[in-house]
Amino acid sequence: MRCVQCGYQLTLGQPEAIARVTGLAITSAILMFIVLFAPFLDLKAGSFNSNASVVDVILGFASGIMTPLAFAVLGFIVVLPLARALLLIYTLAPLVMGTANLPGARIALRWAFYLKPWAMAEIFMVGVAVALVKLAGMASIEMGTAFWAFSLLVAVNAFQDTFMCRNTLWTGLNTNIR
């Protein structure tokens, strides 16, 4: 896996790739909990002050016919990214620890791949950037802890996806002791 002469890593071995994906999935699950409970953006305009967490952003839609949209947004930016991380941990942690597959691991891994296009954390971050520009003229905005946690989460997810080889993970799961 490493160059014999200089020790440069040429390819990532299967156990190492699985360990990295698991580690990054745990990281993104922890970050998502920080995002949920910390303040996201703080807006000040004169004597008015509004403090929004990610949950507030989602509940902004939760009235009348907009309620389904609120649930969809909640799904796209919180539930599905978190579900994906938890499904990956559930399937891959036993492989890392060398124990038998947990029940339903195959279905869990299939869903982890299937949910990928529907987890839109990174798109939400671009949306935040656009909203900040729109508001820049009318108020001063401060980024809260959740903002930075969310940015980190997007980076972690992008990094994780570079190791998410479908064949590697499926072969790993299939050849694990059952």
């Binding site: 529907w118 839109m120 909203a131 520009v133 729109k134 299939n174």
Partner: protein, 220 residues
Amino acid sequence: MDRSEHQHSLTTARDAGLVGCRSCGLVASPDESECPRCLSPLASRDETSLQHVWAWLIAGLIAFVPANVYPMIQTTQAFRTTESTIVGGVVDLIHHHAYGIAGIVFFASIVIPVAKFIVIAYLAILLGRGRGHDPHRLHTLHAIVEFVGRWSMIDVFVVAILVALVQFDVLASIQPGIAAISFALSVVFTMLSAQAFDPRLIWDTAPKSLNAEGEPAHGR
């Protein structure tokens, strides 16, 4: 994964009398109705694929109409209410001299959705006819449509953030409009439309590989 030296050298699972799993990539025996590795349903080709593509595409087009006609947000500032549509939002950003961001929103909410309708319809028509196309080009188009489609959601998230943050009673407040929900539905429908394609159909009409003697390698 690389293209081999022979440009059209291609053996599909179906040629080999097997079934490929779309979910995990395993090649299974045609007797299996469920993938032995990932337990998802197996079919050599999804014959109803194009019907699903057209149905979701038409649903997406229908939702796209109110998304552009009705306001995305209603801004109330000092007792005056202004409504802005998707295009209005882009114009607004240009007035703020935020040309880069205006470009991103214009691209994500207008260019991508319209281009997606055209490209999906084009793919569906060509695959429906089933001959006379370059499979590599169709494959690239399909991959782009699947990758890019979700980015149209940007505008919906922008509205969500604005609504949550700008709630200063009489001074200023922002309410979501009907277009927000229509636009979100349109994006979801077109994503489902792109996913409904069975990409294996693209390769079925590709020229079969020729071996050294110039005979088709099919069935060997």
